[in-house]
Each structure stands twice: as structure tokens, then as C-alpha cells.
């Protein structure tokens, strides 16, 4: 497929066509002839050098258990969960600041144009790292790093309407992303390839992450809302609170 370009990203019609074609070629499965447009997968959003900058930044700044009230193993004892809360922690002086903003901007533009909803705003973003602690064989009882779930629970009273995940991995065995239309329907497996962006509507899309057999899985995740009240809710912070 041709490479994703700014012309495609900025044009809702071209973007949807591009994403549909990519989905059909790479992810559709025969059992689900009727695919819905409430999710997409796009590749090559970051160069390997850019992914490396964000991985290094995550390694240096992520805090174990952040985002889960300090719980370092929220889903399985065999992994360490660490994250960097981009929304509340990053500063202009951060070395990765420009790249974080540019990436966030690009992801937001893609989400707006793909879903053709220009009220979509990011209310939370984080860099997430899941490290395999115990290397294991593929045959094991616990298959999940994060079992299938819906992203509908309000976070800090903000109604999440969309989610996007951008992968920063270099090498990681397992940790595949799983899409399911319902909790029993067939699974589409999406490998967390460096520079790959997954976007979906938070309601009605079950998704999960399979067990990580070895290595570390890095992702830059974004939560969106279309509710104006919620947007304002999060934007009432002032710089003074931050410093």
C-alpha cells in the first residue's frame, strides 16, 4: 500500500478509503464479512528513530504502577506495568516535547477525520510500558496481559468516547492487540508493530492484549471525549497548579 500522507490524513473520504483497504488486506477474517467502520489500523506513523526517542523517554520517565494507583501488576503477576502520564506530567523542557506534541496532533487529526467528528478532543494520554518478568512458553493457562474489555467506564468523570494506541515496540514476543465485536465473537489479532496506530470507538468494541512471552511492549495511548463539558472539566487546571 502507498504510504500514509498528510493529504490522506487530512481528507475524511481518502482516509476512510485508505483505512478500509488496509483493513481488508491485513486484518479481515472470513467469519466477519460484515465489518464495521468504528475501528481502524494504520501503519508507519513514526520512523524507527522517532519510536526510539519515545521508548527511551518512557524508559527514563515511566513510573511503575502509575495509572493503577501504584499497582505494578494490575492484570498479571508475570508483567510489570509502568507508565508516564503525558497529559499531566510533560513540560516544555522535556527533550521529547516536540515529538510528543506533534504525534498527539497527528493522531488527533486522524481521529477527527476518520470518525468525521470535529468535537473529538484528547483528554488523557500516556506512554505505557509492559515488561515481561517471567519468560514463558506459549502454552499456558493465563493468555492475557489485559483481558478483553470495553473502554466505557468514565475516567475522572470524563466520558471516554474513543481510544487510540500507537505502538513504539522494537521487539516483543506476544502482547498482541485483540479486537472483538462482542465478548464471544471471533478475534482479530493485531501485532503491536512499531509505528502502528489503532483507533476505535470506545463503545461496543471489545479489545484486549495477549500475554507477553518475552521483552517489553511500549505504547503511546490516547483517550478521547466528544463531550464539551468534559473537555472543559480537564482544562481548568492552571500552570500554577502544575509548577
Amino acid at each position: 500500500m502507498a504510504k500514509l500522507s498528510i493529504e490522506i490524513e487530512s481528507n475524511p473520504k481518502l482516509l476512510r478509503e485508505y483505512a478500509r483497504k488496509s483493513w481488508k488486506q491485513n486484518f479481515s477474517i472470513p467469519q466477519c464479512a460484515q465489518e464495521e467502520d468504528n475501528r481502524f489500523v494504520l501503519d508507519n506513523l513514526l520512523t524507527p528513530a522517532e519510536s526510539k526517542i519515545l521508548r527511551d523517554f518512557t524508559d527514563k520517565n515511566a513510573v511503575d504502577g502509575e495509572g493503577y494507583h501504584g499497582e505494578k501488576h494490575p492484570h498479571t503477576k508475570e508483567e510489570l506495568f509502568s507508565s508516564y502520564n503525558v497529559t499531566h506530567r510533560y513540560q516544555k523542557s522535556s527533550p521529547a516535547y516536540d515529538l510528543l506534541i506533534k504525534t498527539q496532533f497527528r493522531v488527533l487529526r486522524i481521529m477527527m477525520n476518520y470518525f468525521e467528528d470535529y468535537n473529538i478532543q484528547i483528554f488523557f494520554s500516556q506512554l505505557v510500558k509492559r515488561t515481561c518478568l517471567i519468560e514463558s512458553s506459549r502454552f499456558k493457562d493465563q493468555p492475557w496481559s489485559h483481558p478483553p474489555h470495553l473502554d466505557v467506564n468514565p475516567v475522572d468523570d470524563v466520558a471516554r468516547t474513543h481510544t487510540a494506541v500507537l505502538y513504539l515496540n522494537e521487539e516483543c514476543d506476544g502482547g498482541n492487540f485483540i479486537f472483538q465485536s462482542t465478548d464471544h465473537s471471533p478475534q482479530r489479532v493485531i501485532e503491536p508493530i512499531e509505528g502502528r496506530l489503532i483507533g476505535f470507538s470506545a463503545s461496543g468494541i471489545y479489545h484486549g492484549i495477549t500475554h507477553i512471552f518475552s521483552g517489553t511492549r511500549y505504547a503511546y495511548t490516547f483517550w478521547f471525549t466528544t463531550d464539551k463539558q468534559d473537555r472543559a472539566h480537564d482544562l481548568t487546571h492552571t500552570a500554577n497548579q502544575k509548577s
Partner: protein, 250 residues
């Protein structure tokens, strides 16, 4: 309602208005600029100003932000807006807003998404800002002012300068001025070799005043750095503090 409709006077969102602004900018023979009055929806601007008054402004931050270690005499204080932190950042960092700015100023951005927003406070009796250029990597700027009932005699005007190829013997020679820059309100032609950043030939040139604007409430001044020599200055001010923000895109 999208973010632009939340913030901007509907008149400026009409396709015909946007095209007219773009044509106006492109028709300027030298620096490409324009000023749009009553730009934001007043209720929204008032809210922004309320938040602005709560900020903790720092002169040090402004001075440490100088590019290339160039020293420029200035007396502004600043807070850098960051996404999800400052009121207004939903607009400042929105792809829709960046598309709007680049369209009306006919700017091609090299790094879409890269943005800098300085929320500014200039004390009363500010010294003014010596002639300089914002160009190089930056592709365009948008400056919004918050100052009600601002008069010409209050100073603090943004001034645009044009480099002349001729020399007028009556033009005063001014080099790296210190203190209050009152001469900026006095001359419309001066000679200097030391605008911010300096001329590449390091020689003095005559520059003439091209245009100047009062920092009026709800005025948005736009400039495309297509011409990298877009020299500008700010004249000294009187007893009023001068507030606003400036946004750069790359």
C-alpha cells in the same frame, strides 16, 4: 459545534471571509500580514483573560527562551501554554485551528502540529522591544491582544519595518539600544546594523516603518514569515499593563 465555532466570531469562519483574508495577506507587497478585529467570541475571550490573570508570569522564562543565545532587550513575562494544562489549549493545539491559521495566512507548515504559545504580560511603562525577526524555523505567528480602551498614546504598538536599499542621510544611526526605546515612536526611518539577529552582511541598513498596530482588545494580528526578514518591534508603553498571547507554527 466544533472547537473553532466555540471560539471564533462566525464572520471569520465563513469561507468567503477566509478567502478574502488570505487574498489580503498575499496582496501585501513586502511582509505578509493582516489584523482581524473582534476576532474571538467575546465570552470565550473573557474566560481566557480571567485565566490569564491567574497565571504566574516569569520574566526569567522569557529571557531563557532566546534563540541562538542572542540577547534582545525586552521586558515581557511569559507562561508557555501546554496541551491539557492551560485554558485555551484545546484551541491552541487543535488541528482545526492550525489549518485555519495556515490557510488564512497562506502558510505552508513544515512541521504540522509543532506549536508554541506564549501567554504574555508586559508591565506598565515597558521599555519596548527592539527591532527583530521571528523567522527562520517559524513559519507564521498569531498575536492576540486583551487590552480594552487602549489608545495610541498608551504605546505598546507592534511595528513592522522594511529594509531599504537606499540610504537617507537624515536617518538616525541606532545600534543595540538599551533602556526605554522611545525613539521607536518618533522615527519612521532609522539606520542600524543590529536588529535582533543582525544582518548577514553585518553592515548598517536603512529601515522604514511599514505599518503599526494598536494592541486592541480582541484584535488578532497574523504574519506569515514567507519573507524571513519580517522585522518588527514594539514601542514603549505608558501606565497600562499590556496583555495577550502569541502563537507560532512551524
Amino acid at each position: 459545534m466544533n472547537i473553532l465555532e466555540d471560539w471564533i466570531n462566525p464572520y471569520y469562519l465563513r469561507e468567503s471571509t477566509k478567502k478574502a483574508i488570505r487574498e489580503d495577506v498575499l496582496s501585501k507587497p513586502y511582509t505578509k500580514y493582516t489584523a482581524l478585529d473582534n476576532f474571538f467570541i467575546e465570552e470565550k475571550l473573557e474566560e481566557l483573560i480571567t485565566h490569564h490573570h491567574k497565571l504566574d508570569f516569569s520574566e526569567v522564562l522569557d529571557r531563557t527562551a532566546r534563540e541562538n543565545g542572542e540577547w534582545l532587550p525586552y521586558d515581557g513575562a511569559v507562561v508557555w501554554a501546554e496541551p491539557n494544562t492551560h485554558f485555551g489549549s484545546d484551541l491552541f493545539f487543535s488541528p482545526l485551528w492550525h489549518d485555519y491559521l495556515s490557510f488564512v495566512t497562506a502558510t505552508t507548515l513544515e512541521s504540522p502540529g509543532k506549536a508554541e504559545i506564549k501567554l504574555r504580560y508586559h508591565r506598565p511603562y515597558a521599555d519596548g522591544f527592539w527591532i527583530h525577526s521571528d523567522g527562520f524555523e517559524r513559519k507564521m505567528s498569531a498575536i492576540c491582544y486583551f487590552n480594552k480602551d487602549w489608545k495610541i498614546e498608551d504605546g505598546g504598538m507592534i511595528q513592522l519595518w522594511k529594509i531599504e536599499s537606499t540610504k537617507d542621510p537624515s536617518a538616525p544611526l541606532i545600534e543595540t539600544p538599551m533602556g526605554r526605546l522611545d525613539f521607536l515612536s518618533k522615527y519612521n526611518r532609522i539606520r542600524t546594523s543590529t536588529p535582533g539577529g543582525g544582518f548577514s552582511d553585518k553592515k548598517p541598513h536603512d529601515i522604514t516603518l511599514l505599518d503599526q498596530f494598536i494592541p486592541h482588545y480582541n484584535r488578532l494580528f497574523l504574519c506569515n514569515f514567507f519573507n524571513q526578514d519580517s522585522l518588527h518591534s514594539v514601542s514603549p508603553s505608558g501606565p497600562k499593563a499590556r496583555l495577550g498571547f502569541v502563537q507560532w507554527l512551524y
